[in-house]
């Protein structure tokens, strides 16, 4: 008679271990399997979080490990929440966050809508559109600095060609008014394909029978778009906004490579500012309080957003 794989594993288990396992309940066994993941999660996520909260109430400096660590209460939090420079970095982050999300959702959805139509070269275009997303942010930041060069940059040349302006008359990353838009353009260029892919998944999940029924009811294209396409793609779109929102709130590498936070500190986002406080000024306690503020903000926003997403999915 053929033995099942379960029987073979049971036979191969040493008697000492088998004896010990036999007395365990299913629940205990389940816990034994899950325990390594929980321990890892506690060690990698929860412990650093608790340690950061603890450090945020001290004047600890990681470059002075032998100095006495004093408990300073809420002083770090009060200093951060009355600092005008940090307030400006929050505004820079808000500008970056809002515009990247708006542009990526609009362009990403439009591209997905077009790619979803059957046409010749559909796959080739999808591959070409998705390419920027596959590049490293450091590489993207580096080559966009060349594209933005006033003398030799292709971007300046293209703007000059379209508007008639002198290409060397403006510098995207050197001008205080243009630099915030320069980082928005690059992030949009790089991450719109990601939103497009999520929207495309949403569009392809809509059964054609719904559109056929709408056609039978003589619903116009416009009506079909607003009453079928948008409501059914909305959960996917919201998911894309959640992912991009969290990712852009902690945007670091691309902007550092592109502008380094300048000119001045006009494109210094919170994560760049936080890194400066933690690893250039070595104010670990202060930076920990800063990180806790950012964490609570993202956590709070993500909580209400996930709630809204579940509501949309239930509709």
């Amino acid at each position: 008679m053929l033995k099942s794989s379960v029987d073979r594993v049971a036979e191969a288990t040493p008697h000492a271990i088998a004896g010990r396992m036999r007395g365990l309940s299913d629940r205990t066994l389940a816990w034994l399997f899950v325990a390594p993941s929980i321990v890892l999660l506690l060690a990698v996520n929860i412990f650093p979080l608790i340690w950061t909260i603890r450090l945020s109430f001290t004047n600890f400096r990681v470059n002075r490990p032998n100095a006495a660590v004093e408990f300073v209460g809420l002083k770090n939090y009060l200093n951060i929440l009355s600092d005008r420079d940090i307030w400006l970095t929050m505004q820079a982050t808000a500008h970056f966050l809002i515009w990247t999300i708006v542009l990526q959702v609009l362009i990403g959805f439009a591209l997905a809508y077009l790619i979803n139509k059957k046409f010749r070269g559909n796959d080739l275009w999808t591959t070409i559109i998705v390419l920027p997303m596959m590049l490293s942010p450091a590489v993207v930041g580096n080559f966009w600095t060349f594209l933005y060069q006033p003398q030799i940059g292709l971007f300046n040349y293209a703007v000059g060609f379209l508007t008639g302006a002198d290409p060397s008359s403006f510098s995207m990353i050197g001008d205080v008014a243009l630099a915030p838009w320069a980082i928005v353009i690059v992030d949009t260029w790089m991450w719109t394909p990601f939103v497009m892919l999520i929207c495309l998944a949403g569009l392809r999940s809509i059964p054609p029978s719904i559109y056929e029924a709408a056609e039978c009811d003589r619903a116009s294209r416009w009506r079909q778009f607003w009453t079928i396409t948008i409501p059914l793609v909305l959960p996917f779109l919201m998911l894309a906004v959640l992912f991009r929102g969290i990712e852009n709130f902690k945007m670091f590498d691309l902007v550092v490579q592109l502008t380094g936070g300048g000119p001045g500190s006009i494109t210094e986002l919170t994560s760049i500012n936080l890194k400066r406080e933690a690893f250039e000024k070595w104010r670990t306690g202060y930076a920990s309080a800063y990180a806790v503020i950012l964490f609570v903000t993202v956590f709070g926003l993500a909580s209400i957003y996930v709630k809204a997403l579940n509501k949309v999915k239930q509709r």
Partner: protein, 62 residues
């Protein structure tokens, strides 16, 4: 509106979650607005209050 206040009085999840969500959203707007430093200073307290409230009220009955 009356239903919302009744929900708050009877510890209904929906009403309290709505209140917590409004607090979180207000806190984030206060944190990133460019108009008043005082609003920025109080933003974290409002967001933290909303977030803690959201975690607690998620366990209230529907």
């Amino acid at each position: 509106m009356t239903r919302f206040f009744n929900g708050l009085l009877h510890f209904r999840r929906k009403a309290w979650e709505m209140l917590a969500s409004v607090l979180i959203a207000a806190g984030v707007v206060m944190l990133m607005q460019p108009f008043a430093l005082a609003l920025y200073s109080w933003s974290f307290v409002v967001t933290l209050l909303g977030t803690v409230m959201f975690i607690i009220v998620s366990h209230f009955p529907e």
